[in-house]
């Protein structure tokens, strides 16, 4: 590849094409839009989007979800931060997404910079580029966006007034593989963190930028809750393991801790969610009903790093739903969390919302993967009038033994009882989620998925008296993640994963009685290896990412763009002199004494507890949920001075206001341009949109 944009001198200035900083580039983009697919995703103008005057803001954020608009636009984390930041009078926030290769090529040809969809401003003009990483597979898209923006991809080459490049989201709990490209990373909830950063930047700018970029980074690092990789050095042992990660100056802390928002009801966001014009992956309004999870599934990074559980109250949930529906006109509301059926007031929430919106053509959904009859009751309640098509359960492990290893406490009996209830209540289609490649797993553990699915169909036919019922088995490859008890585990190599899945497929297909009623969905094991490399990698993996991006890697989460061979070739060339390779990062089991790349980043989890839980896993010992049983000393509450925050609040009935949508009320004489009507938000998340199990 020839010199990329950012390697040319004054790249940002030349991309600006003589316009003012903060000016719109839409007139230059517009002719290109006629020549590409799905141009609507790049034009902005969504209901509830905001464009502020550039000059009125003292701190300006470009927020990026590093994937295509159709995936990024519905993301809750970005939407919440967008509202929180724009709710401040002197702060401006706009959104940017990864551009598809057809537009990228034209932008490079015509010198059009990476732009925001709101004001079509050049990303390089902003104070901060904040990226929300739900998955590591967005790393190459970050490099591409930086390059298209004319921002040097290496943080060390950013010595002027380039935007601070800051990562958040779940993947940022191990930002080491992208440490060379980042100015900073934020762990945990983003609402307060973005305002903390905003305040520090505003102060520094007001003072006339004393000490330049270095001083600003230092002020961020000194908070103890913003990680600035530049101030930390990594030393390695001769065998390739890390010797230590230590600050390279005395005035920054040894460890950086995560942010935890304690009262969700004080942060009722999003109040006015965006309504994309383009079709997106989630055509609905989402409400986060609680954050955190204490079920203790050992594979689940989200559950581990978002502790403790903090619930939104029934009234808080109802307010957001009501306000959001009015502001958006969405037809569906999703009540999201990592395990929505576990909310202490969920039965009342479901019943009340179902009553409220019964006649309004509004559907409610509750993504929950719990395997019990209560979950079916909830689903029944939420689909009183609608079609009962599919219901999802997640046993995660195929055998009883496997489920003890991963701490997913479900028996086959539970599952059969649950699906029987579901089929009897009129559900036609049950979806089951499992993982393949779990620690200690054997072929037999995976083959038991087939017998379980057959039992499900058998029970379903008996319960419903019909033969047209279906069961879909979806399988995700397990990828060990940082800050989980499985962070020391060996990842299964992709050849073994594929062989195991092939055996499972045979076991299902060969069954004459039930085979046709069972659908099987899975991906091959290769993408999981790259994800594993990026998840548990250290700073040396940064060079692999850069090589892969330079060799053309983009949109790695999309099978039609992902190239395993390219990644492996780039890993080989980038790691040649390091004495480590892809296997070393993925399929190698770590021992207790090894310094893990993320050990200086504090998720609150006590590493002795994590290790003990890992040992319990190997001995097939389960632990309970600390919401209902005494504390297991995972460390989070002690260390972070937080606590579990659950109801019930005592409120069981919500008033029935005249919120029926549609109504016959006289139309309001409102003026157009929704842009001005931003709610007076004050403060900000980086939660994931849908509950995501590991590796999904």
């Amino acid at each position: 590849m020839s010199a990329t944009v950012s390697e040319r001198l004054n790249a940002r200035a030349s991309l600006r094409a003589g316009r003012d900083v903060g000016a719109s580039h839409f007139d230059r983009l517009e002719p290109l839009l006629a020549r590409i697919s799905k141009p609507i995703q790049y034009v902005g103008g969504e209901v509830n989007s905001v464009v502020k005057d550039w000059e009125d803001a003292s701190v300006r954020w470009a927020l990026m979800y590093p994937d295509a608009y159709e995936v990024g636009a519905p993301n809750q984390g970005v939407q919440i931060l967008y509202e929180v930041l724009n709710g401040r009078e002197d702060v401006l926030a706009e959104r940017t997404y990864a551009v598809w290769p057809d537009l990228e090529e034209l932008m490079r040809e015509h010198g059009v910079p990476q732009f925001t969809v709101d004001g079509h401003r050049a990303v390089g003009d902003f104070d901060v580029l904040g990226l929300s990483f739900a998955t590591e597979l967005g790393y190459t898209n970050m490099l591409n966006a930086l390059d298209l923006a004319g921002i040097p991809v290496h943080a060390a080459d950013r010595v002027g007034d380039e935007p601070l490049v800051i990562a958040g989201g779940h993947a940022a709990f191990n930002p080491e593989p992208i440490a060379d490209f980042l100015d900073a990373a934020v762990l945990g909830d983003g609402e307060e963190a973005v305002l903390l950063i905003t305040g520090i930047i505003a102060e520094w700018k007001r003072q006339g930028r004393p000490g330049g970029r270095e001083e600003l980074l230092l002020r961020l690092a000194r908070t103890g809750s913003i990680y600035v990789p530049h101030f930390y050095d990594v030393q390695y042992l001769p065998d390739g393991r890390i010797q230590r990660v230590a600050p390279n100056r005395s005035d920054v802390p040894w460890r950086v801790s995560k942010h935890t928002l304690m009262d969700l009801d004080e942060w009722s966001y999003p109040k006015a969610p965006l309504v994309p014009l383009a079709e997106t992956v989630h055509e609905r309004m989402s409400v986060e009903i609680f954050r955190g999870c204490t079920r203790g599934c050992r594979f689940c990074q989200a559950g581990m790093i978002t502790r403790p559980v903090r619930e939104r109250s029934i009234t808080g949930v109802a307010e957001i739903v009501e306000g959001g529906l009015k502001a958006t006109g969405f037809e569906e509301v999703g009540l999201l969390s990592l395990s929505s059926a576990d909310h202490s007031e969920i039965a009342d929430i479901a019943r009340n919302l179902a009553d409220r919106y019964e006649d309004s053509q509004t559907s409610l959904s509750l993504p929950s993967t719990r395997v019990d009859a209560f979950n079916v009751d909830l689903a029944n309640e939420l689909s009183r009038n609608g079609r009962r098509s599919g219901l999802t359960f997640a046993p995660e492990g195929g055998s009883e033994r496997m489920r003890r290893v991963i701490n997913k406490q479900v028996t086959e009996e539970d599952l059969i009882r649950t699906v029987t209830t579901a089929y009897a209540a009129g559900w036609r289609h049950v979806k089951l989620y499992f993982m393949c490649g779990l620690p200690t797993e054997t072929d037999d553990d995976v083959l038991q998925i087939a017998s379980m699915a057959k039992e499900v169909i058998k029970a379903g036919r008996e319960a419903s008296g019909r033969r047209d019922i279906k069961c879909t088995v979806s399988i995700g490859g397990f990828v060990p993640k940082p800050h989980t008890p499985f962070q020391w585990a060996s990842q299964l190599d992709h050849e073994s994963t594929d062989a195991r899945l092939a055996k499972l497929k045979d076991a299902i297909r060969s069954d004459r009685e039930y085979g046709k009623a069972i659908g099987l969905r899975y991906h091959d094991g290769k993408p999981g290896i790259v994800e594993g490399l990026l998840s548990r990698g250290d700073r040396r993996v940064g060079r692999v990412i850069e090589h892969a991006w330079r060799a053309g890697a983009r949109f790695d989460g999309w099978s039609e763009h992902f190239s395993f061979d390219r990644w492996m070739e780039c890993a080989q060339s980038a790691l040649t002199d390091e004495g480590v390779d892809v296997d070393w990062f993925t399929t190698r089991q770590r021992d207790r004494t090894e310094v893990l790349p993320w050990e200086h980043l504090d998720s609150g989890l006590d590493s002795d507890w994590l290790w003990d839980d890992w040992q319990d896993a190997l001995e097939e010992i389960a632990v309970d949920d600390c919401r209902w049983t005494p504390c297991f000393d995972c460390g989070v509450c002690d260390q972070m001075d937080t606590h579990i925050q659950v109801g019930p609040t005592g409120v069981t009935e919500l008033p029935m206001p005249g919120i029926g949508v549609p109504s016959c009320a006289a139309p309001l004489a409102t003026t157009k341009h929704s842009e001005a009507m931003q709610s007076e938000a004050t403060r900000s998340t980086t939660t994931q949109d849908a509950p995501k199990t590991n590796g999904g």
Partner: protein, 246 residues
Amino acid sequence: MGNRRPPDRDVAPVVQRVRIRYARRGRLRFSSHRDFQRALERGIRRAGLPIAFSAGFSPHPKISYANSAPTGAASEAEYAEIGLTAAWDPEDVRAALDSALPPGLDVVDAVEAHTSDFAQRLEASHWRIELVDVELPVAQAARDAFWAADRIEVQRMAKSGLRTFDAREPVAHLQVDPASPAPCVILHSVVRHVTVTVRPDDVLAALRRVADLEPPVPPRVTRLAQGPLDEATCTVGDPFAPDRRG
């Protein structure tokens, strides 16, 4: 137990049908017809219009759409009809919808439907085509070559595959605006709606075919009107006229 029937909910009947004319302007000309459908349905909910729904397990709002302009073309004359369960002043419907939709999707006119043959009334479209960096005499010569031809076959990729059709016959009128502001040339074209709709793109393809007219920048296209065609004057009339007479 297993056979759940659609609920016997009271489906409120349609008591009024309102036809709206809307414009797709500026950057929102890049919205597709499906994008607009979703936006309108949500706009109706935000505006609180008493929209009627079909019966059954998955009720649909009662909205029907007339032929929509292609994605990327702007339009001042798109049409839809909505069924309401309560009578509203059409102007209130227009204002409520217009303020609920984002700027660029603008509801510009509304009438209560008193007639049933609305779709048939949309006989032709008037298109404005703006060519950038094209010389006026070159455009004029291309127009003349187009006009002199009896038949100009063009091709377009359709869902069913590559289609070949005549782009000349349905064109009732094609004119170069002599007062076009340089470096632009503005073409006005009136096209009859026939089985295979001839779009501005097809007219441009025909101009390329007969006269090698090759604009360096993608042209900007706007539908100015849709409605009954006056064959004598080659003008497009107001399709709401019969409804306005009530």
